[in-house]
């Protein structure tokens, strides 16, 4: 590992020194292709972020792919209902690794204003591993860009080898998650116990 001071000194002389890991992560983090998949109100703000005023293309994410096979990032933009939850999980399962999720808006995080509803999933992180949560109802396009930049930082900081390597380089880590089915009253399973570990609050 080359030390930072020497690296800067070399850069002044016109010599770029990098590691494979940095190069790999740099390339990945600047071409995150989202799945063009809108669920509700937040999808309009997602679209606004891709339009001229906010221009998500500055961050390399303007290529909204309608097919999950070509996408790296799923922006869960809106309320996930119980009818829609199996399809959301199935879409995620169809995406190739490495893949990331941004839970956009209050509904995707926790059910939001519709949390009392009988048909609303109380947060997509019960079924899928969420990388970034953006609060708001709906979050502004700036907030989505902030989430994207945060995701890029997360990708850039990933260590490719060793015990903390990311999921897509770990053969033992799951890449697909069980698709819930419609049960008698709720989707079955209502949550994935491997992912959803709420802290027990004892009062």
């Amino acid at each position: 590992m080359i030390e930072e001071g020497l690296k800067n000194e070399l850069a002044k002389q016109g010599v770029v020194v990098t590691t494979i890991q940095e190069l790999y992560n740099w390339g990945r983090s600047n071409s995150v292709w989202p799945l063009s998949f809108g669920l509700a109100c937040c999808a309009i703000e997602m679209m606004a972020a891709s339009m001229a005023k906010w221009d998500i293309a500055r961050f390399g994410s303007e290529v909204f792919r309608p097919s999950p096979r070509q996408a790296d990032l799923m922006i869960v933009a809106g309320t996930v209902t119980k009818k829609m939850a199996p399809q959301v999980v199935r879409l995620y399962n169809q995406m190739p690794e490495p893949k990331y999720i941004i839970a956009m808006g209050a509904c995707a995080i926790s059910g939001g204003p519709f949390k009392q509803g009988y048909n609303v999933l109380k947060g997509i992180d019960r079924l899928l591993p969420v990388d970034i949560h953006i609060p708001g109802c709906p979050p502004r396009p700036e907030a989505l860009l902030h989430a994207l930049i945060t995701l890029q930082k997360k990708i850039e900081s990933q260590v490719l080898t060793g015990p903390n390597r990311p999921r897509h380089l770990d053969a033992a880590a799951p890449s697909e998650f069980p698709v819930p089915e419609f049960g008698e009253h709720d989707i079955v399973p209502a949550m994935n116990p491997q992912l959803w570990k709420p802290r027990l609050v004892v009062r």
Binding site: S36, F37, G38, L39, A40, C41, A43, I44, E45, M47, A48, M51, A52, K53, P66, P68, G78, T79, T81, K83, M84, Q87, R90, L91, P113, F114, Q116, G117, Y118, N119, V120, C137, P138, R140, P178, V179, E181, P189
Partner: protein, 392 residues
Amino acid sequence: MSIATASPAPRNYEVIPKTSPDGLELEGELLEVAMGPQHPSTHGVFRMDVVLDGETVVKLKPVFGYLHRNHEKIAENTSYLGSMPYTDRLDYFCSLTNNWAYALAVERLAGLQVPERAQFIRVITAELTRLQNHTSVCGFLLQDMGALGTPLMYAFREREKILDLFEALTGARMMCNYMRFGGCRCDLPPGWLDRVQKIVDDFPRFLDSYEAMLNTNEILLARTQGVGRLSRALAISAGITGPMLRACGVDYDIRKVDRYGIYDRFEFRIPLGEQGDVYDRYMIRLLEIRESLKILQQALKAVPGGPVIDPKAKLRGFRPKAGEAYGRIEGPKGELGFYLISDGSPNPYRYRVRPPSLINLTILEDMCLGQSVADAVVTLGSVDIVLGEVDR
């Protein structure tokens, strides 16, 4: 826990034997395609189960409910004012008109009067909403036709200007939550009307360039004229409202029929189509924008001073006396109505939304049968649906 393998559903359509031009009987395989719920052309989480004969649509079954968010049930369990923010999320393109329809229903229920200034603010915000909705819809329609990006970019550029106005007025870009029973939540910020005036003055220029770019475009004409035709009789009997109905040539606009608010004071015309096809629906929306601009010009000149909310309106402990009321307005998508039954308690006994998108969507099959599947996409785009309102 595994992926369910559904057994094939029994066919409820007839396989029509076809004959070739030579009189020979042909046997074709029918193809069942589920378009959606994740599909770039379905405008959200909507599914069309299409049965195709080659490219021709033989049967089309719309499947709703992927965004059913229990709006009505939640509203029946909360106070009257508590469901005002939820109305924003019905049709998330036009939160201010949703607010107005709900406020109108409650005002009828409780017998509240709206001050003059608030009436003008309501008209101005509603027409601005119509402006941004219709521009975006035209952009989306063109995107469905394959004009990826450009028209929608232009539409969203104008939409952002109007959203900036909404943000200055209400604090939120999309979920405005601005109307209150008996008026509006707050007065206009200083200089707001001048900003509206500037945008209203500039808008025809954008519209001219937009129409010059698109209206005579050969691809647009080929893809829209004669496509998705809806007959006048079917439109009336199916309860279609809004630009869809007027594209069939039926002169029905609730701004003229009911004259709710202060719409009787403005001079504007109702554009009507003839053919009832996708092109007429597209043109009706562009013409309606021009009429909305006329209303805005008249309204902006005459905004009076005074309070913006009825001093008798109580925000706390609001309990209208027992009764029922229906308030309806001409939303950008059609007749948006709220039906309320009060039993004298703080929350409504029954709360029902009459969503224009859902009712306009019911005749989708009639418009699409016999057309190619690509035209079904364009026809759906011209209906102008928002799934938050369809499924509620």
